[in-house]
């Protein structure tokens, strides 16, 4: 459960979020969409208390995030699986160790780790890369490691910031199926994405942000005017380049 109550976050002069109120219920599957710089990652960062809101209150799993003491922040983050937009893999740890790390911080036994990590790596399809370091992986492989790490603790809330940005359509769909499956098991999922076709085809709740404000919040599609895009090919072929500008 994620609740934003009139939350504002400014970066000096930049608008991050502007009086945003949102309620995401337990078990929901929500897409967060919007143009570059709209405030999507700001939203995610606020949920994790990576940054503090200027105004308003934020609740995650019943915890009020803004008043959380430093001691309790790890608890918040552990109950939340996170796929960061920039992956944030530990460069000095192998794929296996990166995923295992998320389990180690919750003090799970070596046996549990040895059992569960390969399983999750298998789910995202990078078992054979278990012993590689992040800088030895393709972009999409790193992204899948990040997803595996977010999933490995069976979090009650999963937040994924652009988890398919570096993935080909096939792999993207496999990941989406995985997320759907996890969602069916009761996990709340908030996914930031630009993948219009995925959003359109999944038919889930879509929250659209623009310039820090929520401009749309409904079940359905990405809300991007297809016409213009479609018209592109014809236009170019016809040589009328300036039409797109």
């Amino acid at each position: 459960m994620i609740v934003f109550d009139n939350v504002t976050k400014n970066y000096n002069t930049n608008i991050g979020l502007d009086h945003v109120s949102v309620r995401i219920k337990k078990g929901d599957f929500v897409f967060l969409v919007g143009p570059s710089g709209a405030g999507k990652s700001t939203f995610v960062r606020l949920v994790l208390k990576e940054i503090e809101p200027d105004e308003g209150r934020i609740f995650v799993n019943g915890l009020e995030v803004n008043t959380l003491t430093n001691r309790l922040i790890p608890k918040l983050r552990r109950s939340t699986g996170i796929v960061f937009q920039d992956f944030r893999l530990l460069p000095n740890k192998t794929v296996f160790e990166n995923v295992a790390f998320a389990m180690e911080i919750t003090h799970q036994t070596a046996r549990q780790i040895r059992r569960q990590v390969p399983q999750v790596l298998g789910l995202v399809g990078i078992s054979i890369k278990a012993d590689k370091y992040p800088n030895q992986l393709a972009g999409g492989e790193q992204q899948r490691v990040a997803i595996a790490r977010a999933l490995v603790n069976n979090p009650t809330v999963l937040i994924a910031d652009e988890p398919t940005g570096n993935l080909d359509p096939d792999t993207s769909w496999e990941i989406m199926r995985l997320l759907e499956q996890i969602n069916l098991r009761g996990t709340t999922i908030l996914m930031v994405t630009h993948a219009k076709d995925i959003v359109d085809k999944m038919g889930k709740r879509v929250i659209a942000i623009e310039k820090g404000k929520i401009v749309r919040d409904e079940y359905g599609d990405y809300g991007y005017k297809e016409e213009e895009a479609h018209s592109h090919r014809g236009a170019y072929i016809g040589g009328g380049y300036n039409k797109h500008a």
Binding site: L48, E50, N70, R71, P74, K75, L76, R77, R78, T80, I82, F84, R88, L89, L90, P91, N92, F101, A102, E104, I105, T106, H107, Q108, T109, A110, R149
Partner: protein
Amino acid sequence: MLNSLKYTIKEAFTQLFRNGAMTVASVFSITAMLLILGIFFLITVNIGLAVENVKDDFDTVSVYLLDETSYETAQTMMLQLEGMPEVENVHYLDKDTALAQWTAEKFADNADMFEGLAKNPLPNSIEIKVKDLASAENVAKVAETFDGIQKVGYYKDVADKLLRISEGLRTGMMIIMAFLVVISVVVVSNTIKLTVFARRKEIEIMKYVGATNWFIRGPFLTEGIIIGIFSAILSSGMLVFIYSRVVKSFSLHITWFMDTGMVPVSFMTFNLIWIFLALGISIGACGSIVSMRRFLDT
């Protein structure tokens, strides 16, 4: 708990190994600092010993007796002096022996030059060896109260000078030592700060994934301690090696420039290792904790 401890130690070693170049750089820096401290420590201890030895040469109080004072009176005085706690031993030096010693000292091989002397100008004396140069003055004062003495003499100037020198050396060395320790702490903690700095991204990532501060600190702290231990062993090993070589070459030329011996290697080894381990570990540990603070406190 046990799990965490195992994780922490394993993790620390793994990271030390994987960040090989950085580990080597910091072990070298810290070893270097400890070496400086150690050399200074060795010098200080040896100079201290040398000064003590030199002081021993001047810890004699001479009570010059009047010619009319009998040997028996002198014996009474000596008994009384021997009773004093500050006094090491007491002996009687008759004027003839004194003259012989003096001419031998002053005119070496031409000692016969004084043989024709009509009358020995020197007095009989009681030579008192005090336990500590600093108490010479006290003993002298007591001796002065005796009857039948001409004068009490001791190396007052030399004693004062020596006491001041040893005092001065002690404070000087203390100050420099303290200063060196401060500098070492600065250098070592900066070294560790830079290694932590090189890995700030990792620390942030760990935090964002939900690791508690102590979970993150653990391995870094352990790394700091291990680096400290390594450096301590390395530097005390090198120092003991160097020192034992120096002592050996000294014992060959034992009177090379001073007649005092050196502090024995075994004593030094023992002390160095413990001091270095304590220093290395505490600086290593504090260094990591302090340097991580700014990356952890959000």
